[in-house]
């Protein structure tokens, strides 16, 4: 009993004493007979894995070429699907989904935004290879390479048809998402796309990559079977996959910020997959074969110039209104966005403390540990606030611009004699090849003549 009380008293005494201690170290370090242990510093990656990011970039380039080759030369859905699954395994489950082309947009923004960060070559490759690939071949990257797309493609079993106006409206979310992500990355605070990547937690659920590396390094004995993953993100991923059973690739169609760049490039692409290279006989068999609702039916007979002109002029008037609305929304959202910044948070803490309100004690401790005075913090925070507000307005205006552009494009009628994939939304997955009777005949003929030759 006495020893119990003893320990407690000693502890309290010690705490009181040490609070007043001013020496460099409160307690002298001992003289031991043996050398002290070193602080261990395990390396990030060892041996041949030092530069794996460069391997990743090469695999990415190879996969884009392979997916395009299967889409154009072989016209084989099966080939595309195999590339897609390999890519899902490599980039998703082996490399844990990071870095990806979608997120690389933020690295570029941060690098341009200053702050001492510079993008590395592999990340540049991740950002740009799919863009160049899409400018050449359309979105074969989406159809056959992107691991986020692939994991959704696998579960898209019962695709329902989403009405086109809803489709167009929902896809505007991606534009706003891209804009917000670029803004936040630019100001160096959050990487929004990474923070809410719904699939990365699924890729990391089972540490396949670690096992492979440990076995390859001859450390099979150290292989651990711990399963990791954050619950909130896992739920997000699970819900996304569940929705994805009925709405094929919901992330790709309505959320993916990278798709905002890929769509226009695909519209301009040098080549693009066709349902069949031969003549369409309008059998309508392919109409429902695209789970992404990307096949457009032949256009109805001309509704008359008058209607077309009227629709177009309404849209042209609405365009500036949309841009103005975007600017306003950005102006309103600015303060909330700036609260992600460290100095703005510190300034907020100081303001509350001055006003005698309750404030976060971690922030208070952080304030005590840093060298700047209150005035300097307020000054920095003020600059950040105004910069973020301007940035948010640019971003809002951009969303309005794109929304208006899509509206105008929608209102312009074009002649479409056959069933064709919409170049913007087609993911070059090759499913429609399989159902087109002309295409099947062509393939059978080719196989037959190959058989005769052989």
């Amino acid at each position: 009993m006495t020893s119990t009380r003893h320990a407690g008293i000693i502890l309290i005494l010690l705490m009181l004493l040490s609070g007043a201690a001013t020496a460099d170290l409160r307690f002298p370090t001992p003289e031991l007979d043996e050398p002290l242990p070193e602080t261990t510093t395990p390396e990030p990656r060892q041996g041949i894995w030092r530069h794996i990011e460069y391997v990743d970039a090469a695999v990415l380039a190879g996969a884009i070429v392979a997916a395009s080759w299967f889409a154009f030369k072989r016209r084989s859905r099966r080939g595309i699907a195999v590339v897609m699954l390999l890519s899902l395994f490599y980039f998703g489950f082996y490399r844990l989904g990071c870095v990806c082309s979608i997120g690389a947009v933020q690295n570029a923004a941060l690098s341009i935004g200053g702050d001492g960060y510079a993008v590395s070559f592999p990340i540049i490759a991740f950002l740009l290879l799919p863009l160049f690939g899409t400018l050449l071949f359309g979105r074969t990257f989406c159809g056959g390479v992107c691991p986020l797309g692939a994991i959704q493609d696998v579960v898209a079993l019962k695709a329902l048809k989403i009405p086109r106006p809803i489709e167009a409206g929902l896809s505007l979310f991606a534009v706003a998402y891209l804009a917000a992500a670029v803004l936040l990355a630019f100001s160096g605070t959050v990487f929004l796309i990474c923070r809410f990547d719904p699939f990365v937690s699924i890729f990391r659920l089972v540490p396949v990559g670690k096992w492979i590396e440990q076995v390859a390094m001859g450390e099979a004995g150290r292989v651990s079977f711990s399963v990791a993953g954050r619950v909130d993100l896992l739920i997000l991923g699970g819900v996304m996959l569940l929705v994805g059973v009925f709405v094929a690739r919901p992330y790709c169609r309505y959320i993916c910020p990278y798709s905002v760049l890929l769509r226009p490039l695909s519209r301009l692409s040098k080549w693009h997959v066709t349902i069949t290279p031969d003549e369409c006989v309008q059998c309508r068999l392919c109409e429902n074969s695209c789970p992404y609702n990307a096949i457009e039916a032949p256009s109805a007979p001309d509704p008359g110039r008058h209607f077309g002109k009227l629709g177009l002029s309404v849209c042209l008037v609405l365009w500036p209104v949309m841009i103005a609305a975007g600017l306003c929304a950005g102006w309103l959202a600015g303060p909330a966005v700036s609260r992600t910044d460290h100095h703005v948070r510190l300034a907020e803490h100081l303001r509350r403390a001055d006003a005698g309100e309750e404030t976060d004690h971690d922030l208070a401790a952080a304030y005590d540990r840093q060298p700047l005075g209150a005035d300097e913090i307020h000054a920095i925070a003020g600059r950040v606030r105004s910069r973020v507000r301007h940035g948010a307005m640019i971003v809002g205006g951009f969303v309005g611009l794109v929304a208006g552009m899509r509206l105008v494009r929608w209102s312009v009628r074009r002649r479409r004699p056959d069933y064709v994939p919409d170049r913007g939304t087609c993911l070059s997955c090759g499913r429609c090849f399989e159902v087109c009777p002309i295409e099947r005949k062509r393939r059978n003929d080719a196989a037959a003549s190959a058989g005769e030759d052989g």
Partner: protein
């Protein structure tokens, strides 16, 4: 689009398309050049690390990492440690006895190993399999001891997320990218 081949003459739409196409190439090429010049000026590969001098032991390191348990662990700078018998990083202030019984320990997972060296010195080391990076021991050590315990991102565990998810949650702005060949910010004497 399909009528491209049957019309030998360039239509207005086709001309526009070609123009935009060229524009796309120019924009992409410009972007490539700009980013490459950024990369050349940069310092190469980076990893995430936290600055122990800024850290306020808020506990977010334990909860905000994409990994569970977190890739952040307590580490020990032995050369600073006083090898105290009465370690305030090891013992709970409410401890009733200076024994290794779980209820006397500050660490919620019992991750600190206490080894007798010679009277009256004890060595404290972290079992990283058990440590969750909550920083309780770090706080205890810093408040009343030499401050030899501190938190670090352990790179044998960290998957080097594109943006560390702890970084925006850190109230002290302690996270930053460091060169991959100097991946630790250690406390030294």
């Amino acid at each position: 689009m399909t009528d491209r081949d049957d019309k030998p003459k360039l239509t207005r739409r086709e001309l526009l398309r070609r123009g935009l196409q060229a524009g796309g190439v120019v924009v992409l090429a410009g972007g490539t050049a700009g980013l490459i010049s950024e990369a050349v000026a940069g310092k190469g590969d980076t990893v995430w690390q936290l600055d122990p001098d800024k850290c306020v032991k808020c506990g977010n390191c334990a909860t905000r990492c994409v990994l569970d348990p977190s890739a952040v662990k307590a580490v020990h700078a032995y050369e600073i440690c006083g090898y105290c018998e009465l370690c305030t990083g090891y013992f709970d202030p409410k401890a009733t006895e200076l024994t290794t019984a779980a209820e006397n320990q500050l660490c919620p997972t019992g991750a600190i190993v206490r080894t007798f060296k010679k009277d009256p010195y004890y060595e404290y080391s972290i079992d990283e399999e058990l440590c969750i990076g909550c920083g309780k021991c770090v706080d205890g050590c810093e408040r009343f001891g030499n401050g030899s315990l501190f938190l670090q991102v352990r790179h044998d565990r960290c998957v080097n997320c594109n943006k560390c998810t702890i970084a925006p949650a850190c109230p002290a702005d302690a996270f930053r990218r460091v060169p991959a060949d100097q991946p630790y910010l250690l406390k030294t004497r």
